[in-house]
């Protein structure tokens, strides 16, 4: 009876400890395999690639090839998929002057990056970084958000949307980028409502879909000066727009989407603007 109680107590304690994901991080982390003979040298939490990663550095007596072989075999067995080294990731890791390109594995959004940190002959250091990485596999014609400004990279880009040049503005307080796509507005909105939370953004507000009634041009104080052509064009636009506001930490992201339902005017495009600004305290 005592043993049963002890087991129940143990299970309860474990469940309570794991109630918060933070506390369970270590449990989760230890499910990452480590090659025999590797000794943990350091462990830290770091923000990279737009996400929080736990990085563990190991000392290993042997070449990195052995480590690489171990992870390729073991993680593939466990259902992890090896990612062809992503350009974005490669660029970021290249900035760290690593001796060789890292190995990347993913299972859903869970990501493991194994990197050779180099070292003296006969012994090396390697790191195992684990965290969630949100990004989209580049499809043909897709323009990923170009992270010259690294902080844009945790914002999803509508698949196959094209970057509109000249619409990228970066200041210390505000960053803006624009895309266009031929997909319907509602589909773009649905995509952002689904994907923004996955990238860690919390949607806090949403504008209702607004159809712009041409009647507004009758009430507008200055619209009397508009030419007949412009008035006719405005009436034929059949314009609709909406917006999503999301927050993450101190940043506010506003997605504006606008489209004209008028066909045959070269207007079939849905325009997407992404503006990220920092909240001033």
């Amino acid at each position: 009876m005592k043993r049963i109680s002890l087991v129940i107590m143990l299970i309860l304690m474990l469940s309570l400890t794991c109630a918060g994901k933070t506390f369970c991080g270590w449990l989760d982390f230890y499910s990452t395999p480590v090659p025999a003979g590797a000794k943990e040298a350091a462990k830290e939490k770091a923000y990279m690639l737009g996400s929080d990663f736990i990085i563990t550095v190991y000392d290993f007596h042997g070449p990195f090839d052995e480590v690489a072989k171990f992870y390729l075999r073991r993680l593939t067995q466990d259902g992890w998929e090896q990612m062809a080294s992503d350009e974005k990731v490669a660029r970021e890791l290249a900035a760290q002057k690593l001796p060789a390109p890292p190995l990347m594995f993913r299972k859903g959004e869970d990501t493991i990056i194994v990197a050779n940190l180099g070292g003296p002959p006969g012994g090396i250091k390697f790191s195992v970084s684990r965290g969630a990485l949100y990004y989209f596999k580049a499809k043909k014609g897709q323009t990923l958000l170009e992270p010259e400004d690294i902080q844009f990279k945790d914002i999803p880009v509508y698949p196959q949307a094209s970057l509109v040049p000249l619409s990228s503005i970066v200041t210390p307080l505000r960053r803006q980028v624009g895309f266009s796509t031929n997909e319907p507005l509602a589909q773009v909105v649905k995509f952002y409502k689904q994907k923004l939370p996955l990238a860690g953004w919390r949607i806090v507000d949403e504008l209702p879909m607004t159809d712009y009634d041409p009647k507004v041009l009758q009430d507008c104080p200055n619209c009397g000066n508009l030419s007949k052509d412009t008035l006719a064009a405005a009436k034929g636009l059949s314009l609709e727009s909406t917006g999503i506001k999301a927050v993450k930490g101190q940043e506010v992201c506003i997605i504006g989407v606008s489209a004209s339902k008028a066909a045959g005017r070269g207007m079939g495009e849905t325009r997407i603007s992404i503006t990220v600004s920092k909240v001033q305290k």
Binding site: P221, G256, V257, G266
Partner: protein
Amino acid sequence: MFRAFNLNKFRYEKGQLLPVFIVILAVLIIMALVTVNLGKISMTKTYTSNAADAGALAGGSVMAGVFNQQSVTNNNSLVINHTMFMAEMFTLAAAASASAFAAAAICSSTPPELCGPSGVCEVLAGAASKSIKAAMISLVAFQVAQVFTYLSMKEGAMTGRENAIRTAYQYAFSNSGIGTKLIPGAYKDADTPRGNENNYSDSFTDFMKNKDLVTSGVYSWEDGQGRAHVVTVNVDTHDVDTYLLQYCVLPYLAVEAYLASQALPAAAKLLVDCAECPCTAGPAYMAAMKVTVAMLAAAAGTLPYGPLMEHNLFGDIAFLIAWVDDIDHDRLFYVTSWQTHGDPYDYDSLWKARYPKIGSRSKVNFKGEGTIYPFGPKFDSDIEEVK
């Protein structure tokens, strides 16, 4: 006189003072029955004054803070979005215009080797087209960002007003002297409970924590002698749901019409011309002119036009909001406080001490030197009138 009195003294009748005595006695009895404690009246008056002043000052201060925040947000919105957006629109207009005219010039006077796909002419015409599309993206970003800012300002003001009202109630009640009149502890803990539940300080503490205080301002209790006590606080300040907005010259639809239906087709025509170069100069320059005029008209359409009272919420989205010019509010905060202790009209229990209904009113002006636009976060509260 003494002689006259002496001579007539036997003609006076006894008991003449009796009516006077009866009148004096009646007055004394009435005074005794209608017990009025002037000291307590004056103390109650002090309490109601304190309550009204404290409540109005506290509420006014919170409102001043709310308006200061509105001013700061409005300024951020103005600087970050509007100034940048306008600069961007005019820059893009200049870029589109320069590219379009350069394309027209090359198209009309160029050797054929510079024409055709990926030729200089086509690249320039394409650049004009890209500038127009960039302006359209900026327009979407500006429109949506301004509406969100406006909505969040409005929500912030409404929440702030509610907080101000709640704070005013709390300050008014805590300065109304109720605490000194109640029995410490909880009704249920008392060995021999006196009066009703509200006669105990714990009930008052619960009352003060109640979030519904924002809509209700009456605390009443019955003391151990069965007397009813009522403290009423009334807080009032105008709603903050009507804004005076500075709109841009043209509504969204009209700016979009310039860009999408005039500038873009003109740039597309230039592209076609470039493919056929050397092209006829007239139509090519006309197309470049059309791009320039439409882009400049669109950019000019985003300039601020003038303050207008807001329409209904989603009617406003049709217009481009430049900034918030003002909030329709008189910047005044009123608190009135009354107290009655014992029913002044309860003649069935004349032996009980009774007081008249005593009240005070305070008006606080929280304007200070603050303005929503231009940016002036100097709203401050000050008592303007006390009754």
